[in-house]
């Protein structure tokens, strides 16, 4: 029963798989909500996915400081991308975390169908729970909830 331990989403993007894949990876610094969702001490100015298996994906602050998010596990442009998610539930680097994100891009009726899965979410932990609570998850959740209203 892997199903309950994943988050899945599907969407149609009106562009080609090639362009969808390249925007997802090369332009992640432009679409990722960096202001809300970052793990470094300093707010990042961009995010980067290195285009190869074993490459890193990470955020970079204005002073050049990099904060790792994980690694590229599968790099099959323009069809499939798997990234490890080495981030705790309170948005801190966690190299022991074992969840991963898979994105599939398929041509469909002149557009691209994206099938997204974040699996292994039972391994998301709170890095700082012993050091003083679990503010990140709750704050992030409250923020996204508020933003929606």
């Amino acid at each position: 029963m892997p199903e309950p331990l994943s988050v899945r989403q599907s969407l149609i993007v009106r562009t080609s798989p090639e362009r969808a894949f390249s925007v997802f990876t090369e332009r992640i610094g432009d679409w990722w909500r960096l202001a809300d969702m970052h793990i470094g001490e300093q707010p990042p100015i961009t995010a980067i996915v290195e285009p190869r298996v074993g490459g890193r994906w990470f955020e970079r602050a204005a002073d050049g400081t990099e904060c790792p998010w994980g690694h590229v596990r599968v790099w099959e442009p323009p069809h499939r991308l798997v990234l490890s998610w080495e981030i705790s539930a309170d948005w801190r680097p966690d190299p022991t975390a074992t969840s991963e994100v898979e994105v599939r891009f398929a041509a469909e009726d002149g557009a691209t169908r994206i099938d997204f899965e974040h699996r292994g979410i039972e391994s998301l932990t709170l890095r700082d729970q012993l050091a003083g609570g679990w503010p990140g998850l709750l704050q992030a959740f409250a923020k996204t909830t508020t933003d929606e209203e």
Binding site: P4, Q9, L11, W31, W32, T125, A140, T144
Partner: protein, 102 residues
């Protein structure tokens, strides 16, 4: 969100996470779980109590044993949080991919 916090806190312990993953793969009794792990049976029972208190597993009497299985609702709040996070992020990605300057 208290459920999500309880669930995540319970799963922060690596042994407990391993026990949870085994139960997720196969509903199991305490003895079977202890046999497969370098942990004593009382320790496994202790971990199971924490998982049960966090709403992640349920148990059911089967003869003289109690069989533990994953509660489908246990990780619901964690999933809801991530689902919302990805929903908004992927929408932003789609907007950029469909825009002229992508």
């Amino acid at each position: 969100m208290t459920n999500a916090v309880a669930a995540i806190t319970a799963l922060a312990d690596p042994t407990r996470r391993k026990i949870f993953e085994r139960i997720a793969a196969h509903p199991s009794a305490v003895g079977a779980l202890a046999d497969g792990l370098p942990v004593s049976r009382p320790a496994v029972s202790q971990h199971l109590r924490v998982l049960k208190d966090a709403g992640l597993v349920d148990d059911e009497a089967q003869g003289t044993r109690r069989i533990y299985r994953v509660r489908q609702e246990g990780l619901a709040d964690v999933r809801a949080y991530l689902d919302q996070f990805w929903d908004q992020s992927l929408a932003a990605f789609r907007d950029l991919a469909e825009s002229e300057d992508a």
